[in-house]
Symmetry: C2
Subunit: 227 residues, 2 copies
């Protein structure tokens, strides 16, 4: 009386924004820690932990403890292969329109990811910085160029102070809602702080949303525009 393989179960497991983001992140990078995954999925650690527990139980991912870190990775190439098919299918079928659920548009637009800027505007900033040669990405490493340092200093951020911190200066953080990168690390945090103190934007109370004033957004775009 063997039970049938339950497609709905595994598909349902994948069919959640946060879990899908986690799995996709694991597709890109080999192994990631729980907090990194939480960040990638834009959820808190607890939530990510719960999701990871379920994925683990379902044997879609595995863990390897190393010191106080737990590195998660996809269990199998079977998992990766299934995910890949789903990506293809989603692409082919134009799943953009299907996007269900309300998902606050303000959150998509701009939000706090830990302490730095994410969302469409976060991606915009990141892209602009790269386009103008202010940061250079090789692999998943990110470095601030000399020109970039000048630019950021001109924006009112004390880069040398940031360098003295233990925290990495520049990191690229994958944004699930647009599947593009934005700037994290000490510099990402400092930039967002600066945006707040300049009054260009403020955090919406009780939410991760970052609300830009019309003026603030214009100023930001102008500042980043080439030339």
């Amino acid at each position: 009386m063997d039970a049938p393989p339950d497609i709905a179960a595994v598909a349902g497991l994948i069919g959640d924004r946060a879990r899908a983001a986690i799995l996709m992140s694991l597709m890109a990078d080999r192994a990631l820690t729980a907090t990194e995954l939480a960040r990638a999925a834009a959820v808190t650690k607890q939530t990510a932990s719960a999701h990871l527990a379920r994925l683990l139980e379902a044997q879609l991912v595995t863990v390897a403890q190393s010191g106080r870190h737990r590195y998660y990775r996809l269990a199998d190439h079977q998992v990766a292969s299934a995910l890949e098919r789903l990506v293809v299918l989603a692409e082919h079928v134009g799943a953009r329109q299907v996007t269900v659920g309300p998902v606050d548009p303000a959150l998509r637009r701009a939000r706090v990811c830990y302490d730095h800027l994410a969302g469409e505007l976060g991606v915009f900033v990141y892209d602009a910085l790269r386009d103008r040669g202010f940061v250079r990405a090789d692999g998943s490493r990110l470095t601030l160029t000399a020109g970039g340092e000048r630019f950021v200093s001109g924006f009112g951020v004390d880069v040398t102070a940031l360098r003295h911190r233990r925290r990495p200066l520049c990191l690229a953080c994958l944004d699930w809602s647009v599947r593009r990168h934005h700037l994290a690390g000490a510099l990402g945090a400092a930039l967002l702080q600066r945006i707040f103190t300049l009054g260009w934007a403020h955090r919406r109370k009780g939410s991760r949303a970052v609300v830009f004033s019309a003026l603030g957004e214009r100023a930001l775009r102008a500042r980043l525009a080439a030339g």
Copy 2:
């Protein structure tokens, strides 16, 4: 600013018991009507209709109207391929344990599928009838053999009367909860009726569950045992 392909959306679409059952049925048979699919998924027509509407919008299935029937089929080989991967993955990962949700065990055991018996006991009956050569399956067609007619008559069912109805005598109905077939059609309905009148089982009020008495189940098994 192109939106990313949303894996979660398509996976979530598949990740529902009823929809998964529908899609799997469409994998097996080429094209099926809405009611057949409702039956296969063990939901009402309305529910199936809603699901089909969503699958349609997501372009996972297509419809073809023919008379007053609407024949649904998988949109693509891409869809089929993705489903197949998921089946493989589910199988490989042993998704049996993962089976989430309460899903009344009584319903799994035995329940009414429209007017005939489904669930594990339904499958048992069907298998027994086939093993003893009482029904013969070729493709999706099902025929009652001479020996089968004698057996069923001995059970107290007037087969010749059933033959005069318009309704097909024997049909194999796919049971999503065990992914095996059980007996449908006029004969399937008559058998279940007979089981009720013999007092071997009764319908649980307000539910599709069919509750067998210990005696009734024993009697049923004895009757179907070879020899």
